[in-house]
């Protein structure tokens, strides 16, 4: 029994919860079975000098037979019997295992009990390990039960009053029956979601903050608010949310969720009850329909869990949306603190995105900015770089004082994509072929000019595309076709040596669908005075011009695509020498 008890629970401290819970259920049993309603009393006493811990209640008590049946047999609690009988909705226990925890912490366990069924007879149960016990008749007193634990030497701290008070507040703070420690009631602090009496919204807000402060271990709450399901919801849930006052980064996960079932804390880290994106949210959740596991330290993942999680998710989104109007200052503070986390969160739900899209910032090379602010400086485009260090385009945009969004950072690219899709602006991902059309406008067809450009810059593996683009001082953009490169690599015989035949045939099935073509496109900027000058020049001057400009093609190619800068610079140097020689 002792071994079973130790194995079942992660900490011996849960003995306090388990025994208080038994006391609570005994009181409920008395109400259920006798329809009597004595003022409920759960009293905890401790004597640290002698290592004693006693929990006393004025519940139904146990007869000697029941003691034999319930306390001495694993998994046969009476609560379950009452529940199976259709009663006991306010009872906490379920598995009949709670008493096992006593043997994990005590070297000697004594139970004195006097049942309402036999008020003139009491009994005493004494056991050391739970495997053997003595049961004797005892002096009858008031109906109820007292469990006295003689704690093991290494667990004497449980009997220290401060420690015990913290434990009781932790586990039993929301229990509806008063629990007294050495006469002091430890669970009489009000909680704002149990609206027994109407309180003003301001008072509720203050109380919510106060309670959130009690449950939040690591951060101050910025703001807190209550929630409660309505009759039309599938599950009855109520409690409190708060936003943590700590700067979070990206996908920080500080979710802090305490779950209470019938007033008893089951777990203070049930984070999966709220969505993953809510890494900056704390919550206290009260829900009597959730099913604890046998150890009662976690929840079973069943349909009730799903319903509670679904309710909390919806409620969180709904309340965050209204927080902006309800407490604008708190909301703005929360947005500053959790800008990155919220950016991620907004992508997980379109309603959050609508709420946050204009207010969150994205990192740009000109500092953090909201997208409306970016758009106001870029004539409706969101220029986005996807590399930690951007390519030449990023340098050019910087020269033009156009902010470039740092798309490689957490949640920035999809946030900008969704903004452009659902709100306004056009996304121009620098270096991305899909965005070329937004940057590079085709020039009106001029066959003579095209022929000339082909002659000057043409190449068997390159298409010349006369275009217009900003800035006008830039003569070319060379865009390499990644699909063509992939096709060539996969269809090359060399691939057979490095890739297995079966999977390679699947890959080739795909590349077969890519039309063969040149490896790159050279966009020649027809708005560029240098290009126009070159087209107007003739003879040897044009020849030198081409020699000077041609190396720029490689220099202005998309980075990381194998530009041969050394060759380019050598060519440029040679051309420059010709020009200088002519001048001299």
């Amino acid at each position: 029994m002792r071994v079973l008890g130790e194995a079942l629970y992660s900490t011996p401290h849960v003995v306090v919860r388990e025994l208080v819970q038994n006391a609570h259920d005994s009181i409920e049993r008395r109400r259920y079975e006798t329809r009597e309603a004595p003022v409920p009393e759960i009293s905890v006493r401790c004597d640290s000098a002698n290592g004693l811990l006693a929990i006393e209640d004025n519940g139904a008590g146990l007869t000697a037979e029941e003691v034999k049946g319930f306390l001495a047999t694993v998994g046969t609690g009476h609560t379950r019997a009452i529940r199976d009988d259709g009663g006991g909705s306010s009872m906490i226990g379920y598995f009949g295992l709670g008493f096992l925890s006593a043997f994990a912490v005590a070297k000697r366990t004594e139970v004195w009990s006097c049942s309402y069924q036999t008020p003139d007879r009491a009994c005493r149960f004494i056991s050391r390990t739970g495997e053997t016990y003595t049961l004797e008749e005892a002096e009858p007193r008031e109906i109820g039960t007292t469990v006295t634990l003689h704690l093991k030497e290494d667990l004497l701290e449980i009997a220290k009053v401060e420690f015990l008070r913290d434990l009781l507040r932790h586990y039993c703070g929301l229990l509806r029956h008063p629990v007294a420690l050495d006469g002091e009631v430890i669970n009489d602090q009000p909680v704002p979601w149990r609206r027994d009496e109407a309180i003003s919204p301001l008072r509720a807000r203050k109380l919510s903050l106060e309670v959130a402060g009690r449950f939040e271990r690591n951060f101050e709450p910025i703001t807190a608010w209550t929630f409660a399901s309505a009759p039309e919801h599938e599950i009855d849930v109520c409690g409190l949310f708060w936003i943590q006052d700590a700067t979070t980064y990206a996908s920080s996960d500080n979710r802090n969720v305490s779950v209470f079932v019938r007033g008893m804390l089951i777990n203070d880290d049930e984070r999966d009850l709220i969505p993953r994106w809510a890494g900056f949210i704390g919550a206290v959740v009260e829900c009597d329909s959730l099913h604890p596991t046998a150890s009662r330290e976690a929840l079973q993942r069943d349909s009730n869990f799903d319903q509670a999680a679904a309710f909390l998710r919806e409620e969180l989104i709904r309340s965050l949306a209204t927080l902006a109007g309800r407490e604008p200052e708190s909301w703005r503070r929360a947005m500053r603190r959790h800008n990155e986390g919220l950016r991620g969160a907004s992508l997980a739900d379109p309603r959050l995105f609508d709420l946050l899209a204009d207010e969150l910032t994205v990192p740009t090379d000109a500092g953090e900015m909201t997208l409306p602010a970016v758009l106001s400086r870029t004539a409706g485009k969101i220029y986005l770089s996807q590399a930690e260090r951007g390519g030449f385009e990023e340098l050019l945009f910087r020269a033009l004082k156009v902010p470039v969004v740092k798309g490689h950072l957490f949640a920035v690219l999809p946030f900008c994509q969704r903004y452009a899709e659902s709100k306004r602006g056009a996304l121009v991902a620098l270096g991305d072929q899909g965005s070329d059309a937004l940057l590079l406008r085709p020039a009106a067809e001029q066959p003579a000019a095209r022929a000339r450009l082909e002659a000057l810059f043409g190449h068997e593996d390159r298409t010349i595309v006369p275009s217009h683009f900003e800035p006008s001082f830039l003569p070319f953009v060379l865009v390499r076709d990644r699909a063509i490169a992939l096709k060539r690599s996969i269809e090359d015989d060399e691939a057979d040596r490095r890739i297995g035949g079966a999977v390679l045939s699947l890959a080739r099935r795909f590349t077969k669908g890519i039309d063969a073509g040149p490896a790159s496109r050279l966009h020649v900027n027809m708005s560029c005075p240098a290009v126009q000058g070159l087209l107007a020049a003739d003879g040897p001057r044009a020849g030198v011009g081409v020699k000077l400009m041609r190396p720029l093609i490689e220099l202005l190619a998309d980075p990381g695509a194998g530009s041969d800068i050394q060759d380019a610079l050598e060519d440029f140097s040679a051309a420059l020498q010709i020009v200088l020689a002519e001048d001299t």
Binding site: P201, R276, G344, D358, T361, T370, A387, H408, A495
Partner: protein, 762 residues
């Protein structure tokens, strides 16, 4: 090769080298994927990939790209072109000399094989089997991807309906692993048992599985499988309780969820109602976008079966028709075609949905109930007999929308419009439907079509289309063309005013607002008039509007309104777009001057004069405070325009608090020099004297705040003013940031001494 050992070593090395962020992402990406947090995976991968490429860490690039494909293809079942290309590209990349040694390089085979499994599972079964087998031959059972590739092989067998072979393969692979956990493979084995008609064995297998290492998504897979087993075993209620809701599931779970629902299709169980149709269409939309060719037809079949079970024969026939149309894209459609044919035959025997139409079309509306599926059938039958009035066409559109068939609404409305071309309601409904779907070309064509019969409505739609595309000039032209005399076409005028204000033509906007107020009671238009007139400094108009609203503005006054209306809060955006709320003194109905000094590291709004939108943002907070009997908060307004910028800048002041009286005199003398001070600290809590050798009892009240100086006072002048005025009042305070700015080294050194003496922490 143990991939996770490699991940652990790599992240440790990354951390040692100071790449914490990349290390965190590498650890987090698989976890987020297995938990079904795919948005997080995407976001982490984008960042991690850029960082890994920057470091030139090829192996990490393979790892990150593989996990991104796992998330996209394996879990989200997305084999659209971009992902297929990425899978091929990754295979190419991972087989290069520099990447071949990466422990994750084998797994990229699975990514590509999965893509084809997602596109057309049975159609590519042979190729998938061969490729998975090839991958398995490269590794032994110690590799974690032994499980993945075995799972892929098993799935191909299942798609090929080789259940017995699958069962044998499962046993063989498990024996190689010597009893170790093979979660994916075991799920497939349990499914094979189900397919072989052995639900009890499947259940036993499912119950023996532990999803602990497979994350939340694995947990959900297991729950759906258990629910399916329970349903097949006839344990209906338990199955319902176990089956997760569709909205909590991912694409990878959809198949078994449908299979389970098919077992629980009896309408009285409450799961199979018309509402399922909206989910079906949402899933079909996702499958289409993700290029799930085979699964699309399969879902059509399941949807048809569900519809038959709830007696919605027309819906079933519709799905079967669509399913048959999609068969052509499949490589091996025979089995599915036979299933669709057999279902069609059964449906034909059942006959069409029964519809009892009333004797006249006017009574049809009364026949409609809450079930859009039934309504659609009724309305379709009615439309075959009569031309439907507009209200019933709206009913059809509403039913389609409720059933998730929104794409059918424009054709429906277009047909109705072509039959009833004089109906403005029909035109506007179709127009706004197109507008909401951003189908501008079709909207233009519709407007042209309606031009002759409903010119005003046609232009109204055009104007909205132009506005949606930010073409203010075009919208203005159209609205002006259709503007009637004052008192008429109020909607057109309102929209025109909105457009004019957005376009910045305030004179024209004011003219229209003046016209509106001539024939309307005092109200919103007057407030708008005040805002626009204030922006234009047309003070006589502001006074006239205020008088109509009975506001306490001196009606006889002239020139700018500069009155004392108490304090308020104004909300405005800084240059970077972020909102700031600051305290201001209200100088009129819609104007205020900021009186709050911001710290030097924040945007400075002090002395800015602004025009604000007079609808308070703080109505709710004021109401709450009133209800609680507490002090009312200041009204808060949104700034519309900055009329005159204050151009102040601020510097921090630290030092000893001289007592309230001296403080006030010091402040007032500074103000006389055009310099303003705002105290940020509380003398009761901010104490000085914490330097060594000081007794705690000697602690002095501290002072911390900011001075704001205008543009015409230079930094040097400000330093001189501060020194002179502070000395005159015997103040001990310092402004090191300002001194640093002007390079006043000796003054700075003196202030640093004060700093040390009083234990001021900078």
């Amino acid at each position: 090769m143990d991939i996770w050992e490699w991940v652990e070593d790599t992240t440790e090395q990354l951390r040692e080298a100071g790449h914490e962020r990349l290390a965190f992402a590498v650890e987090q990406i698989p976890q987020a994927t297995c938990n079904g947090d795919h948005e997080e995976t995407e976001q982490l991968c984008t960042e991690a990939l850029a960082l890994a490429r920057q470091l030139g860490h090829v192996w990490l690039e393979v790892f990150i790209r593989h996990w991104r494909l796992q998330s996209r293809v394996l879990w989200r079942r997305d084999a659209s072109r971009g992902n297929l290309e990425e899978a091929v590209s990754l295979l190419d990349f991972a087989s290069q000399e520099t990447a071949r040694g990466c422990p994750q390089s084998v797994c990229v085979t699975q990514d590509l094989v999965s893509c084809y499994g997602v596109i057309d599972g049975p159609g590519y079964a042979d190729e998938r089997l061969r490729a998975s087998q090839e991958g398995l031959e490269r590794i032994d059972s110690n590799w974690p991807c032994f499980d993945c590739l075995s799972g892929e092989y098993a799935e191909a067998l299942l798609d090929d309906r080789k259940y017995t072979e699958m069962e044998e393969f499962g046993v063989r692979q498990a024996s190689q692993k010597k009893g170790a956990h093979l979660f994916d493979l075991s799920l497939n084995r349990a499914f094979a048992e189900l397919a072989l008609g052995r639900p009890a064995q499947a259940m036993k297998m499912a119950e023996g599985l532990d999803s602990a290492t497979s994350g939340d998504a694995g947990d959900k897979s297991l729950r759906v499988l258990r629910a399916l087993c329970l349903a097949r075993l006839g344990k209906t209620q338990k199955a319902i309780k176990t089956l997760p809701k569709l909205e909590d599931l991912q694409a990878v779970h959809w198949d078994n969820w449908f299979r389970c629902l098919r077992e629980l299709a009896e309408p009285s169980l409450g799961l199979n109602s018309w509402r399922i149709e909206a989910s079906v269409h949402e899933i079909l939309g996702a499958l289409r976008a993700r290029k799930n060719l085979y699964r699309t037809v399969q879902v059509r079949r399941w949807a048809a079966q569900l519809a038959v079970a709830r007696g919605a024969h027309r819906t079933a026939a519709y799905h079967l028709r669509c399913g048959r149309d999609a068969l052509g894209a499949l490589r091996r459609p025979e089995h599915l075609k036979a299933q669709l044919d057999s279902l069609s035959e059964s449906l034909a025997k059942l006959g069409d949905d029964e519809v009892l139409l009333p004797s006249s079309v006017d009574e049809v509306e009364g026949e409609l109930g809450e079930n859009p599926e039934v309504n659609l059938v009724t309305l379709a039958a009615a439309s075959r007999r009569w031309r439907l009035p507009t209200a019933l066409v709206h009913g059809q559109a509403a039913a389609l929308r409720a059933l998730g068939r929104g794409e059918e609404i424009p054709p429906l409305l277009r047909t109705a419009w072509s039959e009833n071309r004089g109906d403005p309601e029909l035109l506007l409904e179709l127009g706004f439907e197109l507008l909401n779907q951003s189908r501008f070309d079709e909207l233009g064509a519709l407007a042209s079509d309606a031009e002759e019969v409903l010119p005003l409505e046609a232009d109204w739609l055009r104007a909205h289309g132009l506005l949606r595309r930010d073409d203010l000039v075009g919208a203005r032209g159209l609205l002006e063309k259709n503007l009637g005399p004052p008192g008429e076409t109020r909607g057109v005028r309102s929209l025109l005013i909105h457009v004019l204000r957005r376009a910045g033509d305030l004179e024209a906007a004011l003219e229209h607002l003046n016209a509106v107020t001539e024939y309307e009671d005092p109200g919103d238009a007057d407030w708008d008039r005040m805002v626009v007139a204030t922006q234009l400094e047309r003070w006589e108009v502001v006074r006239a509007a205020a008088a109509r609203l009975e506001l306490p503005v001196d009606a006889k006054g002239e020139g700018p309104i500069d009155e004392r209306w108490g304090y308020c809060r104004v909300r405005r955006r800084a240059e970077n777009g972020l909102l700031h709320t600051v305290t201001a003194e209200r100088t009129g109905p819609v104007t205020a001057k900021v009186c709050e000094i911001a710290p030097s590291n924040e945007p400075q709004f002090f002395a800015d004069e602004v025009v604000f939108e007079p609808t308070p943002l703080s109505a709710r907070a004021v109401e709450d405070a009133r209800e609680a009997g507490e002090e009312l908060p200041l009204q808060e307004f949104d700034v519309i325009t900055l009329v005159a910028p204050g151009h102040y800048r601020s510097f921090a002041i630290d030092g000893v608090h001289p007592g309230d009286k001296t403080m006030q005199l010091w402040r007032s003398d500074l103000a006389d020099e055009g310099v303003f001070f705002e105290l940020f600290s509380d003398p009761d809590t901010y104490r000085l004297g914490g330097a060594e050798g000081h007794d705690k009892a000697d602690l002095l009240p501290g002072l911390y705040g900011f001075v704001a100086s205008p543009a015409d006072v230079t930094d040097e002048q400000l330093a001189e003013i501060l020194a002179r005025v502070s000395e005159a009042h015997g103040m001990t305070c310092i402004w090191p940031a300002l001194l640093r700015e002007i390079g006043a080294e000796s003054a700075l050194a003196q202030q640093m001494e004060i700093c040390e003496r009083y234990g001021i922490e900078l």
